[in-house]
């Protein structure tokens, strides 16, 4: 299935686009999707950095299964600040 993936902030700049279409097998997990995205955009983040993913506006575990029409976003580290 083709999933639409949105990028924000640093990931958007590194990917060079706001949204990408990524092909994964039916029932693929978040971890598998991230691997595919990394293959397409190798400069997104170093290999040791875990990329956080939101599915349907909620933070998702790497094991979460994905479905067609899921709203998928890659979430860079949130600002913090004090």
């Amino acid at each position: 299935m083709e999933l639409s993936v949105r990028f924000f902030a640093l990931y958007r700049e590194r990917a060079g686009c706001s949204v990408a279409s990524v092909a994964v097998p039916e029932g693929a997990t978040v971890a598998e999707l991230v691997a595919s995205v990394r293959a397409l955009y190798p400069r997104l983040a170093p290999p040791d950095v875990q990329i956080v993913v939101a599915v349907n506006e909620e933070y998702a575990d790497p094991e979460t299964s994905l479905h067609a029409n899921d709203e998928i976003c890659l979430i860079p580290p949130v600002s913090g600040g004090d």
């Binding site: 170093p46 600002s79 913090g80």
Partner: protein
């Protein structure tokens, strides 16, 4: 353009007016209102900041802010919580965040407001890009998460403890 979806949670490109949020939570049953303003500082980790730019995953940011609002009402027993976050360019001295909390008594209002800001900074998908003299920098993203440095990665004037 106001992107807001609820009266109590506002995400907007326009200037934030603190009174608007304070007045949203005031009730005759309350004795205490605590309002937090986050403003753009002219320095960050030893660098002179020119302006900030905020970017949000708006739909999810709204949901997360509403979630925090409901959590705080339940956990601290406060009367109400209103949150405003500005996105886009925020110049030095301008307000990027307003959190207003009202409660019958002051301790709960102080604690819930402080906690609101802490949670917000950890879980709400809003990112801050700092424009400083000689470069730009996504805050948090490039601080200690990425060994790989971009061309424009910052060289701090001072050496803050948590930078690299």
């Amino acid at each position: 353009m106001v992107i807001a979806m609820s009266e109590m949670i506002v995400i907007t490109c326009e200037e934030l007016c603190p009174d608007q949020f304070t007045n949203l939570v005031r009730r005759d049953t309350n004795g205490a209102v605590v309002t937090f303003l986050g403003t753009t500082r002219d320095t960050f980790e030893g660098r002179r900041v020119i302006r900030l730019e905020y970017e949000a995953y708006e739909e999810m940011a709204y949901r997360k802010l509403e979630e925090i609002r409901q959590q705080l009402k339940a956990e601290f027993g406060v009367e109400d919580v209103a949150i405003g976050h500005r996105i886009g360019v925020v110049d030095i001295g301008e307000i990027s965040l307003v959190v207003a909390v009202a409660s019958p008594h002051r301790s709960e209002a102080f604690n819930a407001c402080h906690e609101a800001v802490n949670r917000l900074k950890h879980s709400v998908p809003i990112w801050k890009k700092e424009f400083y003299e000689g470069g730009e920098h996504w805050v948090a993203c490039e601080d200690h998460m990425f060994q790989e440095r971009t061309e424009s990665s910052p060289e701090p004037l001072a050496a803050p403890a948590d930078n690299d």
